[in-house]
């Protein structure tokens, strides 16, 4: 599953997409506190057809997710920058003709960095 599939219903319209790693979320609520559009919600407040992951993670925390039915996410990145766990990644649709501003930082690329 790619993140675009996860947010298939509104992917094509919103400028930003937000993905939360459910294993890392501790339900502190800072992303919700600081989201300028008030889009971050605990998963149990999100209609089931808009949820992309579990409501509760193995550690027992209610996972936060973006709920953006009206495509308001601007991709500002505040939710990710305030997340103490680094559980949030924000993607923004790239303006045509520009390179990615920051390299992908998945586990795979991190391992590569280690091997360098």
């Amino acid at each position: 599953m790619s993140n675009s599939q996860a947010n298939a219903s509104w992917k094509d319209k919103a400028a930003g997409q937000v993905q939360v790693e459910p294993l890392l979320c501790k339900s502190c609520g800072l992303c919700a506190e600081y989201c300028p559009q008030d889009l971050m919600k605990p998963a149990n407040d999100i209609p089931s057809d808009s949820r992309s992951g579990p409501i509760i993670n193995p550690a027992g925390h209610v996972v936060y997710e973006i709920y953006d039915p009206n495509n308001k996410c601007t991709g500002c990145g505040i939710c990710a920058s305030v997340c103490p766990e680094g559980a949030v990644v924000v993607y923004r649709t790239k303006p045509a003709g520009k390179q990615a501003a920051m390299p992908a930082t998945s586990s795979a690329s991190r391992k590569e960095a280690n091997r360098e």
Partner: protein
């Protein structure tokens, strides 16, 4: 050395420093009697040969600096004495747990508590059975002479590196302060082995990260695994090292004497006396105390009827001897404690008493049965096999790379592992980790970064770069040593408020004052988080904690400490900013401040770069994440105002600046690879060490050694009479004449108050102990010395008094069999124009009377002794000749 016959007059202290220099070790020291000469010599020598010497603010800091330097692969030496070694136990335990090599020398002195500075062996338990906390051993080496101290200190570095363990070398003040003549050539450097250290946290360049830590929390079994692995290592050390003992006259010994260190030397002299009386005693001297040479002791005890253990304590090693013998032999003990060195005569009496008890009576009936107990196969150590427990599955994240046409606005930083943290929801540590890791990523410093982890909530490392785990409060000490060892690396010490401002305040202030070259991130959450929310030095009034339920009471515990205010006073700090994790804007500022500090560090801007971060502790404050952010904005940042306090770093010219030192100057640009400091050759070390070399010669034949074949001389006087110089001159001359010598001067507080004395031995064979209880010759240069030592001269000996100053010869009764000579030594010197040359006159009279050395050997030694003050050579030669002439008239 080109001339192999050359000998060097070496003090115990100097032998230790020289061994460290040859081994390529750095020294972090703190002055303590009786080994202050170590820091003094290292301070002069080490900078000249490219080694690090730093006088630390405390014994604790010195040992933890050694811990830091060892963690980045540097050889380290710490030298101290009993009370100082007690303080060093923290670092020794951490190093044992983190499996780090290091050499610790303890010149044991009388205890407990402050005790005194006399020679002692009272720290046997501490070194062999105790030390710091935890289930560990350190190899313990016990040299008994200066020469052995040199060789064993060198060997200790090899052992430490080979087994990745701290190694103790235990001596005492009488070894540290005594001098011997030693044949020392460049081949000494061949004793040094070198070991690769792939585990060192030198920056993860081209390899996976290294973590240096003794911390094992999760899963719990991991700590048992570590302990079992350590035990397996200790079994290997015991097997490899075996029993290292020296036996003397053991072949037919009925009475086995066991003693180590300087006690063994005195014991040997007493055993020789006992042999002369027909008592068949023998000495077994352990050279290592752990591993304990139990098998050798059992072996030696087979023929013996009884065992006598001698120690300069109330009986410590004797327990191990009894365990080794398992009741098969009666083990007697004799010791003196409190810094007293037993006299030969006392020991002889003990040997006689034990001999009377056991040799006189019939052989006990069960002797043969008990001897079977001495079969060493009964005592083979069972090896504990470590069992490998399954490691916890690593939880990896599944955050996805961006699709085509997308960019990542904020992602996870490379410098952090994909692991869920153990932090509470909303904890500021999590935010700060992300921010630091992003800053390191952005500046591309991951491979060059070494992070020092504190004790506190952030004790578990999530960094994807090299990390070193410090003891509580010692982060600054570790980072100090790491930055001095790896000055081309980005060193970041991450510390909390309790760690930095309470238990580690001394280390903090001193590192800041010195302007150490690293980045300090100070996480101030006004509470002890990990221990469950107790009051911290920065806890503010109104914030309840578990030890101040209504908030800090200023009238009782004072106002919270404002660290930025303190730091801003110190010249060594070049960058100082306080920021807060109180929302997106605040976090941006945190990121900017940390990036600036790291940038300065990467550009080689010398001095301490500090970022204080006000950080929420949601659980400790009993607030939600959002509430805690508001609390920082509204309350905490009123107590601790935000802002930049200092930024005095100049803009660094990239890659240009010549190395300089001092706060605020550009030290060096970052190098891609770490240039290990070159280790100086033996030649370079010898040239720079300011050693006293003497070349023996066969030309000095004008002697008569019939009266004093192996003179034991005590020279005593008051400060300013040049007693040490006089002793050194006689030593030089003796070594020039090809003889062996030892000198034990009075030291430490014994010198305060104006008395000074030296014990000299001159011999053609090995000298067992520099300690003298009944001298052949006493030179009393004033009345108090006369009264103190006049009666100690043995029958047939010589008591030489300076009649100018020994004004009341009747004050004590001198034994009739002692030759007493009153010579107007000071008056002769006065007549020659300088009272201060009385020491040279005394040398002349002494040699003239005794003929124990060729006067020409002394004449030739005077220019060497006065090499630094050539103007004094001629008058001192004249003074010596005047003394000689006076002696000729007397005879």
């Amino acid at each position: 050395m080109s001339n192999d016959s050359r000998r060097v007059l070496l003090k115990g202290e100097e032998a230790i420093v020289l061994a460290a220099a040859l081994a390529g070790a750095d020294l972090y020291g703190y002055p303590i009697t009786p080994v202050t000469g170590v820091v003094e010599m290292a301070a002069a020598l080490f900078p000249r040969i490219g080694r690090v010497f730093l006088q630390a603010e405390s014994e604790l800091a010195a040992a933890n600096m050694a811990y830091g330097a060892a963690a980045v692969g540097q050889r380290v030496l710490c030298v101290s004495s009993s009370p100082g070694v007690s303080l060093k136990q923290e670092a020794i335990s951490y190093m044992a747990g983190a499996e780090l090599p290091g050499v610790f020398v303890n010149a044991m002195r009388g205890g407990p508590g402050l005790g005194n500075i006399g020679a002692s062996q009272a720290d046997y338990f501490q070194a062999v059975h105790g030390g710091g906390h935890g289930d560990y051993h350190t190899p313990v080496l016990a040299p008994s002479t200066v020469g052995e101290t040199f060789a064993m200190t060198l060997e200790a570095f090899n052992l430490a590196d080979r087994y990745r363990t701290p190694v103790m070398v235990i001596i005492d003040g009488s070894i540290a302060q005594s001098s011997e003549s030693i044949q020392l050539g460049a081949d000494a450097a061949k004793l040094v082995e070198r070991f690769a250290k792939p585990w060192a946290a030198t920056g993860a360049v081209g390899r996976l990260k290294n973590i240096v830590t003794s911390f094992r929390l999760d899963p719990l079994e991991a700590l048992e695994n570590l302990n079992l692995e350590l035990q397996e290592k200790y079994a290997r050390i015991e097997k490899d090292m075996g029993d290292q003992v020296v036996g003397e006259m053991l072949e037919d010994a009925e009475l086995l004497v066991v003693a180590y260190g300087s006690m063994a030397g005195i014991a040997l002299a007493a055993i020789r006396d006992a042999r002369a009386q027909g008592i068949r005693a023998g000495l077994l001297r352990p050279r290592t105390l752990w591993p304990f040479p139990a098998n050798s002791i059992r072996q030696a005890a087979r023929k013996a009827r009884a065992v006598l253990v001698l120690e300069m304590s109330c009986g410590q090693m004797v327990h191990d001897v009894r365990l080794a013998l398992g009741g098969a032999r009666e083990v007697h003990f004799y010791g003196r404690s409190g810094g007293l060195i037993p006299q030969e005569a006392e020991i002889l009496q003990q040997i006689q008493a034990v001999h009377r008890t056991h040799a006189a009576g019939p052989e006990p009936a069960d002797f043969a049965a008990r001897t079977r107990l001495l079969d060493s196969s009964h005592y083979t150590r069972e090896l504990i096999k470590p069992h490998q427990l399954p490691q916890p599955p690593r939880i990896e994240c599944h955050l996805l790379p961006p699709d085509d046409g997308q960019t990542v606005v904020v992602g996870r930083p490379q410098t952090m592992e994909d692991l869920p943290t153990h932090y509470c929801p909303g904890c500021g540590h999590g935010n700060l980790h992300q921010i630091i890791a992003h800053a390191i990523d952005d500046l591309k410093l991951r491979e060059k970064t070494i992070i020092v982890e504190p004790v506190g909530c952030s004790v578990i490392t999530y960094w994807n770069c090299d990390t070193v785990q410090a003891a509580h409060g010692r982060g600054m000490a570790l980072a100090t040593a790491i930055s001095r060892t790896c000055h081309d690396r980005v060193i970041l010490s991450y510390q909390g408020d309790g760690d930095l401002a309470s238990i580690g305040m001394a280390e903090t202030i001193h590192a800041a004052s010195r302007g150490e070259d690293f980045v300090l991130v100070f996480v101030n959450n006004c509470i002890y988080g990990m221990t469950g929310g107790q009051m911290a030095p920065t806890s503010i009034p109104g914030l309840p904690t578990t030890t101040c339920s209504t908030g800090r009471d200023k009238t009782d515990v004072g106002a919270p400490i404002d660290m930025c205010k303190l730091f801003s006073q110190l010249e060594g700090v070049v960058y100082l900013e306080r920021v807060a994790i109180d929302g997106p804007a605040g976090m941006n500022k945190v990121g900017r401040a940390i990036k600036q500090a790291l940038k300065y560090q990467a550009e080689g801007v010398g001095g301490l770069k500090i970022v204080e971060v006000l950080s929420p502790c949601t659980v400790g404050w009993k607030m939600s994440a959002a509430e805690s952010h508001r609390y920082i904005k509204e309350v905490v940042s009123k107590q601790f105002p935000l802002g930049k306090f200092k930024d005095v770093a100049p803009a660094a010219a990239p890659g240009a600046a010549a190395p300089q030192t001092g706060a605020g100057t550009v030290i060096s640009p970052i190098h891609a690879t770490r240039p290990w400091r070159k280790i100086a050759s033996a030649e370079e070390i010898f040239q720079n060490a300011d050693l006293h070399w003497v070349t023996p010669s066969a030309t000095y034949q004008n002697t008569d050694s019939s009266r004093f074949p192996r003179p034991a001389i005590r020279i005593s006087g008051h400060g300013g009479q040049g007693i040490v110089l006089l002793s050194n001159l006689v030593l030089h001359a003796a070594v020039r004449s090809g003889r062996r010598i030892s000198l034990l001067p009075s030291y430490g507080s014994a010198m305060r108050g104006g008395t000074s004395n030296g014990s000299l031995r001159i011999s053609d064979g090995p000298i067992a102990s520099p300690y003298i209880s009944t001298p052949d010759i006493v030179v009393a240069m004033n009345q108090p010395s006369y009264e103190k030592f006049g009666q100690s001269v043995r029958d047939g000996g010589l008591l030489l008094c300076d009649s100018s100053l020994v004004i009341a010869p009747d004050a004590i009764k001198i034994r009739p069999a002692v030759q007493v000579v009153h010579a107007p030594i000071t008056r002769i010197a006065k007549e020659l124009g300088n009272e201060r040359m009385a020491n040279m006159v005394a040398a002349g009279v002494l040699v003239g009377l005794t003929k124990m050395l060729d006067p020409q050997a002394l004449r030739d030694s005077i220019p060497e002794v006065f090499a630094h003050r050539p103007k004094l050579i001629a008058p001192n030669l004249a003074a010596f000749d005047a003394g000689l002439q006076h002696a000729a008239q007397t005879v």
